[in-house]
């Protein structure tokens, strides 16, 4: 036994986040921790890594009872953690990040040459062939995630905690990560893995522990539990009905008259090749493709978050310049970024302030949204989107990912848009909230809203969209009509095809 946690309770004012949870992590196993948002996964991890003090219970690491009063305690006990959000220093080099605190010292202070050489070794262990002297910020989020993991390897941990490490990685990067995880497992490291991707959990883990509402639901070997049972145990009810959403893709779209949005040869050098796209009222157009295929880039160009150097955009048939978000907002186009924390929420403002921000921005600074209107917006969306906790005065950064996403949706819906661009709206949120967001998108489209829907989870794209544009290597490679029942495998085949591109 590498880690044994017994009867762990953690309380916050008014909330019992963990209630007498037992958890055991064995050496040489990959153990997944499962549960909806708010089930207590993060809290359990933070109790183990010394971020939160525990109110009762005991933690043993390698047979010795430990009390953690800070993350440094946990690290000295051999527990290394990689969080979902990259915790590295963007302005340092890759090598400095990897070796931070473990630099090789020479006769005159730090021996940088040796430090970088060691950094290179650690990076190559993860199959990362990058220059350790390059600045961290020059690498994609996915690579940064892998760098964060190699950092954990440097400290020679006995217990590795991976909290959603894969949420921003594409398939080949995930494979690379899994290879490293298996290697570490063979070296008898105990690995705690958290992910919202059930596929990955079944693929990589040996054992699963399920939490629900702060309590232990049970511990299972992966072979013991089929997927539907697993989901039922996580939710505490039968699988959420996705059938109603299932019909969305078959809805017939009237493609006469002017589309809400027509994009002609829109492109930007070094970002995406010129491509066309139409979205009609009531239509959900899915963008499918790997990370870096150009799907986010296209969305940002349409919205004006980045400036296109090529092509035109028509809204309701008239050519418009959407060169800044401001223009798009005026044309009732809304965009929800894939990076919720950096480009979505205003963390230190309240839920209500965040929700009204879109409307307020549109009105300009001089005309403050009247109190009555503000209350009406807040009440309406708190209820219709079931935002929890139902406290408009809570700071948004204290909400779970799923609820933050709903607040951001509310921010845009309150501006009464005609086109909604959603980039990865379901990333990093739990199964229940994912289904809710999808149902919402489907309902909005039924009421006549045009939607561009981007997701790495292809089954979501296939379930929701009437049309799917497949992107690969910054090109559009296919336009699929989803009424002919497109299969996820068809899309995968298109994405995977080694083309002339």
């Amino acid at each position: 036994m590498s880690v044994v946690m017994r009867g762990i309770s953690v309380e916050f004012p008014g909330v019992k986040a963990l209630d007498g949870v037992d958890f055991a992590l064995r050496s040489g196993e990959i153990h997944s921790l499962l549960g909806e948002n708010g089930a207590g996964k993060s809290t359990l991890i933070k109790a183990l890594t010394g971020v939160y003090p525990i109110d009762s219970g005991r933690i043993e690491v390698a047979g010795r009872e430990r009390t953690f009063t800070g993350t440094a305690d946990a690290q000295s006990a051999g527990i290394a953690t990689v969080y979902q959000e990259v915790n590295l220093c963007a302005n340092l080099s890759v090598g400095e990040n990897v070796m931070l605190g473990n630099e090789v010292s020479g006769r005159f202070g730090i021996d940088w040459r040796a430090t970088y050489a060691r950094a290179r070794t650690f990076l190559s262990q993860l199959g990362l062939d990058i220059d350790p002297r390059s600045p961290l910020s020059s690498h994609s989020l996915a690579i940064q995630q892998l760098i964060a993991i190699s950092r954990a390897v440097v400290v020679d941990c006995r217990v590795l905690v991976l909290d959603e490490p894969t949420s921003s990685l594409d398939r080949s990067e995930v494979d690379r990560l899994f290879a490293v995880m298996r290697r570490l497992r063979d070296q008898n490291v105990a690995i705690l893995f958290v992910s919202h991707f059930l596929d990955q959990i079944y693929e990589i883990s040996d054992r699963m522990t399920i939490l629900r509402n702060g309590r232990l639901e049970g511990e299972y070997l992966v072979g013991e539990l089929e997927r539907p049972q697993l989901i039922a145990k996580m939710l505490g009810r039968e699988l959420v009905e996705l059938d109603s959403i299932g019909r969305s893709s078959e809805r017939v779209i009237e493609r006469t008259g002017d589309p809400v949005l027509r994009v002609l040869a829109l492109g930007k050098r070094g970002s995406i090749e010129p491509m066309d796209l139409d979205v009609y009222p009531g239509e959900v157009v899915g963008l499918a493709g790997l990370l870096g295929s150009g799907r986010t880039e296209l969305a940002r160009l349409i919205y004006g978050a980045d400036r296109a150097d090529h092509g035109t955009v028509q809204v309701h048939g008239s050519t418009t310049r959407l060169s800044t978000p401001r223009h798009s907002v005026e044309h009732r186009i809304a965009f929800s970024s894939e990076d919720r924390r950096a480009e979505g929420i205003i963390g230190d403002l309240t839920v209500a302030e965040n929700m009204v921000l879109g409307v307020q921005a549109k009105r300009g600074w001089f005309r403050r949204v009247p109190r009555a209107r503000r209350d009406q917006i807040v009440d309406q969306y708190m209820d219709s989107l079931q935002i929890r906790p139902r406290n408009p005065q809570a700071l948004i950064r204290n909400l779970s990912g799923g609820n933050q996403q709903k607040v951001l949706l509310a921010r845009w819906l309150a501006t009464d848009p005609v086109l909604l661009i959603l980039d990865e709206p379901t990333r990093g949120i739990d199964v229940g909230a994912k289904a809710e967001i999808q149902r919402l998108v489907s309902e909005l489209a039924e009421r006549g809203l045009g939607v561009i829907f981007i997701s790495s989870e292809l089954d979501e794209v296939v379930r929701l969209s009437q049309r799917i544009a497949v992107l690969r290597d910054r090109h559009k490679v296919a336009d699929l009509d989803n009424r002919q029942n497109v299969d996820v495998d068809d899309i995968v085949a298109l994405i995977a095809k080694e083309g002339a591109a």
């Binding site: 004012p13 909330v15 978000p325 963390g347 879109g358 307020q360 001089f366 403050r368």
Partner: protein
């Protein structure tokens, strides 16, 4: 919300009261206010009057800091507005007429407003870091002021202009009404319109604000304009006090006092949430401190040491960590009540 504000501003107010108390004990005359010809006199009244330039500058600084910026050029801008106003008055044939003085004041303030916009342009459009962008004018400003006055310290005699800082209105110093007016106007504009929340939003997360359709650029641009305008008014008050345009000494180091006042009031230099009430209290702390030190007979050159002490005490008192630590050594208090903020953060996903 109101509770939180109270909580944040509690420490600065405590520090101010402690200072006043210290003065009241060591010299009973401190609190006494006498009436002469219907005008009030006394140490407290002096503080109200003398704090006016710093108050104006610090209010502008609060807004700038809220957008993650800083304005180092305010002192130099004071010198410029004073130079412009006094040059106009001294060149005029009727330096004592109300019209001339009005034109002079408007011209001085207009010029610094334009300089403020220049700062804003460098920061929001060109994208230069605020500390560098405003450093340019901080260095050049006093030279510009000297150019305007032709290298001399222009002195004037003009009764209406003297009124600005030396005069009285219904018993109180006129300068006090100027700062009161600025406090009221800015508070109203910031809290009655959406300017306050949009400024905070830009300060907390510029990119998210831009994507939400907020005109971040316009907001950042205009706060520097406002800061310049207020510095201009402060320059008028300063030059009216000595009736001279002293380009080398007008508003010297006031940018540092202003930053200090903002921080003492509880606004973080990291930008985002700001409190105007806190800044007002911060200004009074600094002014009272200056007055205390003068009274105690400490040479003015040593004043910064005392300021530093107050800063340390107030900042420590505001520090979350220190407060947690204090609450731990006072076992009678339950830790949950004293560590509200971190606990809220801990509510799980």
């Amino acid at each position: 919300m109101r509770k939180l504000l109270k909580h944040r501003i509690l420490w600065p107010i405590g520090a101010l009261l402690a200072l006043v108390l210290l003065n009241a004990v060591s010299r009973p005359s401190f609190l006494s206010i006498t009436v002469r010809d219907g005008e009030l006199y006394g140490s407290l009244i002096d503080i109200l009057r003398n704090s006016a330039p710093l108050m104006l500058v610090a209010l502008g600084m609060t807004l700038v800091i809220a957008t993650r910026g800083i304005d180092l050029s305010v002192g130099a801008q004071m010198a410029i507005s004073g130079a412009v106003a006094l040059t106009i008055i001294s060149d005029s044939k009727t330096p004592g007429s109300l019209g001339t003085v009005a034109v002079a004041i408007l011209a001085g303030v207009a010029i610094t407003f334009i300089f403020g916009l220049w700062n804003g342009f460098l920061v929001s459009v060109v994208g230069i870091q605020p500390i560098i962008a405003t450093l340019v004018l901080m260095l050049a400003g006093r030279g510009i002021a000297l150019l305007i006055t032709g290298g001399f310290i222009t002195t004037i005699t003009s009764a209406p202009y003297a009124q600005m800082s030396q005069g009285y209105l219904i018993g109180f110093p006129f300068a006090f009404f100027v700062s009161l007016g600025a406090i009221l106007v800015i508070s109203l504009v910031v809290r009655r319109t959406a300017l306050g929340v949009l400024t905070e939003s830009v300060g907390i997360n510029p990119e998210a604000s831009r994507l939400a359709g907020v005109r971040s650029r316009g907001i950042v641009w205009s706060v520097y304009g406002v800061s310049g305008l207020l510095a201009g008014v402060a320059g008028i008050l300063y030059s009216s006090n000595i009736m001279a345009a002293d380009a080398n000494n007008a508003g010297i180091n006031i940018e540092l006092d202003a930053i200090l006042a903002v921080v003492l009031g509880g606004t973080s230099l990291a930008g985002g949430k700001f409190t105007l009430a806190g800044t007002v209290v911060g200004v009074f702390i600094i002014q009272t401190l200056t007055s205390t030190i003068t009274f105690l007979g400490v040479p003015p050159a040593v004043t910064p040491v005392f300021k530093a002490l107050v800063v340390i005490v107030v900042c420590l008192a505001q520090s979350r960590r220190v407060r947690e630590w204090l609450s731990r050594i006072r076992p009678t208090r339950t830790p949950t009540t004293t560590t509200t903020t971190p606990v809220v953060e801990r509510i799980p996903a």
